[in-house]
Symmetry: C2
Subunit: 241 residues, 2 copies
DNA sequence: CGAAAGGTTGACACTGGTCAAGCGGTGTGG
DNA sequence: CCACACCGCTTGACCAGTGTCAACCTTTCG
């Protein structure tokens, strides 16, 4: 990236931010132009390949990031290898937990990612100086908490059919918030990952997907490409009130 | 905090706060003496009977509280009546979600409670004026998020035996953080509530408790009174790493 | 073209749910 | 004071839903 050019426009909105999808969402949405410029001086964009681990369970964290494109999965593993995905993050979510140098989670790229990363120390210094950022972080944490608790209901009280429908509904509404009658998208997770998200086995996930397909609620092409032909029926299969 | 400084502060503290268990925990721990005095002017203590609902799913919230004594359960319900407890809160936790006038959860007294409550508007005004409170709220939200995600692993990937052991372990370590070899406590939840917390039925909870008793891991008196005779075996039954 | 990885399908087993009966403590009315 | 009913919990018998294991299919990629 061209550093000299970036320095020149320090007090304006950085060009790279002006075109950024995350500009008005996530953490950056809470920042003033000056703060954005300051953060941007230390930030770097990078791409990450699907499947790579960003941070391991128990690792030290030295960078925080905004997700510009792609899907990140957060997961926990037991000592015997059983795994549970405890969260999915989409652009423009913020990735990382300030003031906690050690991660309790494994953070992995579910799809190819584009990230905007900053060193831990820079961001923490900025947070202390700019309390408005703390509000942004609080809102993100509360959003994640809501999502986690919604998912606890799914994990604890829904059957396999409802779980799979809930997952498809989650992804569908995330890609097309309008909830139009028909929605098309590519699944960001493999069957094994969906199973780890739902607390099921891949066989059960597969069977329930087939069931939804045969019932005419969804169509499946190439395993990952899903067409929801009837959103209302998907929602009711998911047990949404 | 060093002793001399604490003595100085004690002189100015409201009398009721000076004796308060929540003084150094939860939200109040982040406040200066002046802020505490301000908050205290608008706060009122009250007791709540076990079983009463503090806030219903979808209700408007007009008060926030600190828990001084007792256990609060947060739960979600599906339209057909299936229920999942998505969080337990103990003294000195803060109860409520600033700037969100509507609750997505039902909040209920699991045991008899003693609360210290403040009107919504007062607290929100203070938060705007005192960014340090936002840090306190962020930390509480992150703590709840960690707990929720730990529990997602339990709900999604543990069997009935491990779930019940995990619950007992959670309560035991909460009452006696030392993890001494033997721990005694009263369960704050009925069998039905434990089932709703674990995503099981009361019959399964009962059977697994009996199993742990027959294996000599715990002893049970009067249904609620539990003696953990071997913490290590309880931990390993819970699948703790 | 062959091999590997990911996904589907079937047969069967087992865990946990369902339904029903019974136990034990507590509170109430005769 | 006893008889009774009620509530929370336990236990048993049975069954359904999901996991396990194995075979096979499909897609991808060297």
């Amino acid at each position: 990236m061209d550093t000299s050019r970036r320095d020149r426009i320090l007090d304006e909105l950085p060009a790279v931010c002006r075109a950024c999808e995350a500009r008005h969402g996530g953490l950056c949405g809470t920042l003033t132009t000056t703060q954005l410029a300051e953060l941007n001086r230390h930030s770097s964009r990078r791409t990450v390949e699907a499947g790579s681990e960003l941070v391991g369970q128990g690792d030290d964290v030295d960078h925080y990031s905004n997700i510009l494109r792609g899907v990140v999965k957060l997961s926990k593993m037991m000592s015997d290898g059983r795994q549970q995905i405890v969260g999915l993050q989409f652009a423009p979510d913020f990735l990382g937990r300030p003031f906690h140098p050690e991660s309790a989670l494994s953070v992995e790229a579910a799809t190819d990612l584009q990230l905007c990363s900053f060193p831990r120390t820079i961001l923490e210094r900025m947070i202390v100086a700019a309390p408005s950022m703390e509000r942004g972080l609080l809102n993100q944490a509360l959003k994640e908490l809501d999502e986690a608790r919604d998912w606890m209901l799914t994990l604890g009280r829904k059957n396999a059919n409802e779980k799979v429908a809930s997952f498809l509904f989650l992804i569908a509404t995330h890609y097309d918030a309008e909830e139009s009658r028909t929605t098309v998208f590519d699944l960001p997770l493999s069957r094994a990952e969906i199973a780890d998200f739902l607390g099921l086995t891949i066989e059960t996930v597969s069977r329930q997907m087939t069931k939804l397909r045969k019932e005419g609620v969804i169509a499946i092409e190439n395993n990952r490409h899903i067409t929801v032909t009837n959103m209302d029926r998907l929602a009711s299969a998911a047990g949404e009130d």
